[in-house]
Symmetry: none
Subunit: 195 residues, 4 copies
DNA sequence: GATGAATGAGGCTTCATTCAT
DNA sequence: AATGAATGAAGCCTCATTCAT
C-alpha cells in the first residue's frame, strides 16, 4: 500500500496542473528512494493516486518524467554561492550531513539505478574485496579503512563521470597533467591524518 | 547482427571449456559496453553463437554469469604491489592510460548499470549543467573545467560507494573527521596547479 | 483452433468483469478437461480471446486462476442438505448421473494433481472444506471425521478410476443398479461403529 | 546430492544390463517418492550415476521408463491369493500398514501424476491388469467387473486423499479400527447383489 | 480531463531430447 | 557401450504503452 503523495480528498476536482504535479512529486520520491529502473510506471501512478495512462499523456513516456524530475532539482542548493575558499568544506558538510538523510534526486537516481538486485550483492562484495581491502592493507596508520574508501570513491566516481560525460574535459586534457592531478587527489584521500 | 566473440567456423568441435569461455567472453564484452541490465541472455548467447540454455547450464543463471565475469577480472592488476608511497601515481596512471581504452568489467558494469539508456542523456546533461559547470564558474585560473570534473567525480563516487557498500566505513566514521577529510580531498581536486 | 468460451463478435466492449469471467470460464473448461499442468496460460488466454497478460493482471498468476476456479465450484451442490439417512443415495445419484458428463473442477484438478507444488495447498484446503468437513458436520457419533474421510476417498477414487479407465465397466453398467451399489458403499463408509 | 541407487565402484565395467537396471531402480525410487512429473530425466540419471542420454537410448523416452517401472511392479503382492472371503481384510491391512510406509510405484505415480498425458495409457492398462482384473477373477457371481471397479476406486481414492490431506484423520486414527472399517467398506464394494 | 481495460514485446528459465565423440 | 555438449521448444511473468470510453 503506497500512501498518496499529498493528501487530497477522494473526490477532488479535475485540475490538470495539480495532477501533473502530483505525478511529479511521486516520481521524485520513488526515483530518489529506489531508483529509476526499479520503479514501474504503475507504482508511480498508484502512489500519486492517478491513472497510469496520465504519465504518458503528460510526460510522453516514463523517460520524460525522469527528465522533468531531474531538471527541477537543485543538486547542491546554495552551495556554490559564498566564499570559494571554503567551498570544499561546504560541499563536504553537505555530503556528510545529508548522508544520514536523503540525497538529491539526481544523485540518488544515479546511484540507485545500479540497483538491479542481482548487481548489488555482486558489487558490494567485489568493491570491498577487489578495491577497498587491498588498498587498506597497503596503508599504515589509523583509519586505513576510511582512507581506502575515500580513494575507492574517487576511482569509481571517475569512471562514472567519464562515462556519463562522454568525451569531455578529462579525456581531452593533457594526460600527463591529468595523472599528476589525480595522483595528488588520491594521495590526499589516502593521507593518514585529517588535522 | 552480432559478431561472434571469436571467429571460428560454424562446424566447431564440442568443447565444454571453450564454449564456456566463449560465453564468458561475450558476456564480458556486452556487459562492459552496454551494462548488465541492458543485455539479455539471448543476446549473449547469440553473440557467443550458442544456445541460450547453455547460459543456465553453465552458470546457473544470468546472475551467475555476471558474478563470474566480475570475479575473474583483476580490477587494478598489480597496482597494489610496490612502494606504497607512489601508489597514488600508479593508480592515476592506470586510470588515465586506460581511460583511452576500456575500463575493467567491474567498473564498467557498475558504471553501465546506471545505464538505462533513458538515463544516459538525462544524466549527461544534468551532470554538466548542475554540477560541473556551476563548479567551474566559481573557480579561477586555468583548467577550471578539469578541476571541476575531478571534484564532481569525487562527489558522484562517494554517493555510489556509500550506497553499494551499505552502512560501512564512511557511515560509521566520526562525521566531523569525515567532513575534514572530504573537504581536504575536494580542495585538492579544485586546486589550480598540478605542479 | 480454440473456440471462444462465449460466442461474441470480436469488437466487444471493454468490460472488466466480463473479461475476468471469460478467462475464468475458459480456465475452468480447460482445467476440467485437460488438467492444470497440461494447460498453458497462453492457451487459456487464447481460448478466452484475450491477451495473456490479463491472466496475471486479474489473478496474479496461473495458480491464482486455479484457486479461483476451484473456490467457486460447489463440489456437491446442495447434496449435504436434507435427510442424512439418504445422504449416501443422494451422493451416489449425483456421481452416476454426472458420470455421463463431467467431473467438477476440484475433482478433476485433484485427480490431475500431478503433485504440482502449486496445487497441494489449494487442494488440501479445498478437499477439507468442500468435502470432508461438510460431510463431517452432517454425521452423528464418534469418529465422524474418519468416516467422512473414508467417504471422501471413495468419491475421489471413483472420479480417478472413471477417468483413467475410460468408458468401461462403471459407465456401461445400468445406472440404477450402480447408484444402488454406490449408495450402499458410501453408507458403509459413513456408518458409525466398526464393530 | 543424490546417493547412487546401488553402491558400485566408480570404475565399473560396461554392462548393458546392469546399467539398465540401475536406471530402472533409480526411476522407481524417485517416481515413487516424488511422482513422475516432478522428477526430471537428469535427476534420474544423476541418481543412477549414469549419463542422461542413456535413458533415451534404453527406454526410448522418459515415458518408456515409466512404463517399465510400472509394469514390473506388483501392486498388491500376494493379496489376491487365498480365501476370497477375507480378501477385503487383507487389502485393508495392506493399505493401512503400508500407509505408514510407502505406496507401490503404480499407486504413487498414479496419485501424483494422474494428469500427465504420457501416463494415461500406462495407467489405464495397468489399473486394469494389476487391480481390476485380478480382483474380478477372484469374485463369483454377476457383475464381478463392476464390483471390482468399485473396490479399485476405493483403493485408489484412499491413496489420493491420504496424500493430499497429509497427516490427518486417517493417519492418526487407531490402525486396528481403521482396518476394520476399510475392510467393511471393501467388502461392501465387492458384495454381489445390490438389492 | 481522466479512466482502466487491453495489448505486444520481451525477459529468464527448465526440460526432454539429439548429436558428435 | 557410454558420454556430455548442445539444442529447440515451451513455460510463466512483467512492463511500458495505447485504445475506447
Amino acid at each position: 500500500m503506497e500512501s498518496h503523495a499529498t493528501d487530497e480528498c477522494a473526490g477532488r476536482v479535475r485540475d490538470r496542473e495539480a495532477t501533473r504535479q502530483r505525478i511529479l512529486d511521486s516520481a521524485r520520491e520513488l526515483f530518489t528512494s529506489e531508483g529509476y529502473t526499479q520503479v514501474s510506471s504503475r507504482r508511480i501512478a498508484a502512489h500519486a493516486g492517478v491513472n497510469v495512462a496520465l504519465i504518458n499523456r503528460y510526460f510522453g513516456a516514463k523517460r520524460g518524467l525522469l527528465a522533468e524530475v531531474v531538471a527541477e532539482d537543485a543538486v547542491f542548493p546554495g552551495i556554490f554561492e559564498g566564499d570559494p575558499a571554503v567551498l570544499p568544506r561546504r560541499l563536504a558538510e553537505h555530503l556528510v550531513r545529508r548522508a544520514h538523510g536523503q540525497s538529491t534526486p539526481l544523485q540518488r537516481a544515479l546511484e540507485q539505478s545500479a540497483g538491479d538486485p542481482d548487481l548489488q550483492a555482486v558489487f558490494q562484495e567485489r568493491l570491498t574485496n577487489a578495491i577497498i581491502e587491498p588498498l587498506e592493507r597497503v596503508l599504515d596508520g589509523d583509519d586505513a579503512r576510511v582512507r581506502a574508501t575515500l580513494a575507492a570513491s574517487m576511482l569509481i566516481g571517475m569512471g562514472m563521470v567519464r562515462r556519463v560525460e562522454g568525451a569531455t574535459a578529462m579525456v581531452r586534457h593533457d594526460p600527463d597533467d591529468l595523472i599528476e592531478r589525480i595522483a595528488r587527489v588520491l594521495g590526499c584521500c589516502l593521507e593518514p591524518a585529517a588535522g
